[in-house]
Symmetry: C2
Subunit: 227 residues, 2 copies
Amino acid sequence: MEFIYKGKTKDVYQKEDGNIRLFFKDEMTGKDGVFDPGENQIGLTVEGSGKSGLTVSKHFFELLNEAGIATHFLAADLEEKTMDVTKASVFGKGLEVICRYKAVGSFIRRYGDYIESAADLPGYVEITIKDDERQDPFINEDALVLLGILEAGEYAIIKEQTKRISDLIKAELATKGLTLYDIKLEFGRGEKAGEIILIDELSGGNMRVFKGQESVYPLDLEKYLLN
Amino acid sequence: MEFIYKGKTKDVYQKEDGNIRLFFKDEMTGKDGVFDPGENQIGLTVEGSGKSGLTVSKHFFELLNEAGIATHFLAADLEEKTMDVTKASVFGKGLEVICRYKAVGSFIRRYGDYIESAADLPGYVEITIKDDERQDPFINEDALVLLGILEAGEYAIIKEQTKRISDLIKAELATKGLTLYDIKLEFGRGEKAGEIILIDELSGGNMRVFKGQESVYPLDLEKYLLN
């Protein structure tokens, strides 16, 4: 097994069978010691956060695979904190696809002149490009195509997939009395021609979840979801 | 004639015949005394800038009206520094529609990881909402519709009109040896149902123009264009 990439919250290895192994580290994105899924920096190291993120990811990926959604997920080993996934290539240097059910965070900072904070949104989808230096700039469909990041038609597919995946995760959380405010997904091109698959992880670090009026801390998501 | 609105660079009057009269002031947007069409503040007062902006606007609006494009322009009085226009209502609190032929300004600040500065763009269109407090945030089609700013279908119409108008202005500038880098347009709903018309002004303050490698100062545009 060959080490190929050191990510902010995961290390990446090439397996001999052609698949990829992700090792979940105990690091979370945030700023000044406070977790923030919108942050690009590693904000804090929390013992057990890698395993917790993997447990939640495994739960959601299994749910999505059962629903027939194409994802990179193959298997997870909770003790080893590893997830085996198929190979995928990201779009450009990576996109973050956000699905919003509540007007909070950067949405309200941008459009607060037109909507009340925490108002319902109908699973609105938007895309940012991963670029730490430029604070993950927002991008529209035309710019994605003209910069060669997406092919014509891929935006619509990603939007539809995002809505479907996010709706399933929202419904699953609702069965536990939890409300999904927004979620950040990542997609890649799979090994079959034209195939677009869900990649990365699906943990508390990727979503804003509330229980009633209280924000659920990412590491508590496992407890609410699986107990 | 009734005074109805004091804008940053124009004052607005209601005429008795139902139309609107715009008075072009000698103020320009910018920062620290330097002109910047992307700025929201009034940066400087320049004697003659109102008349110059009106002269250039009149020239372009006449060109567009002749090409059969729906605009709010009726007539201009250069001595009085006024432009008479038809009534229109802006989308939401106003949109800025930008058409880009060169990767400069905020485009390169956002997407500089994917494209060289000043590379050619194919008349790429993007929209920001006018909101001084939030620095005119960028917005996509879905958010415009969900916030009730545009009706479904209007984005495509505005994009197509913007491309057509900008191409005509680009071609007109080219006849004078000038290169249009980008341009900022504003649209509104006209008095006829479903009608979308070009509003505001069309002066050096709305566009980035180059002569060879040199940026053309907005107040010099009149000289190059009309002499």
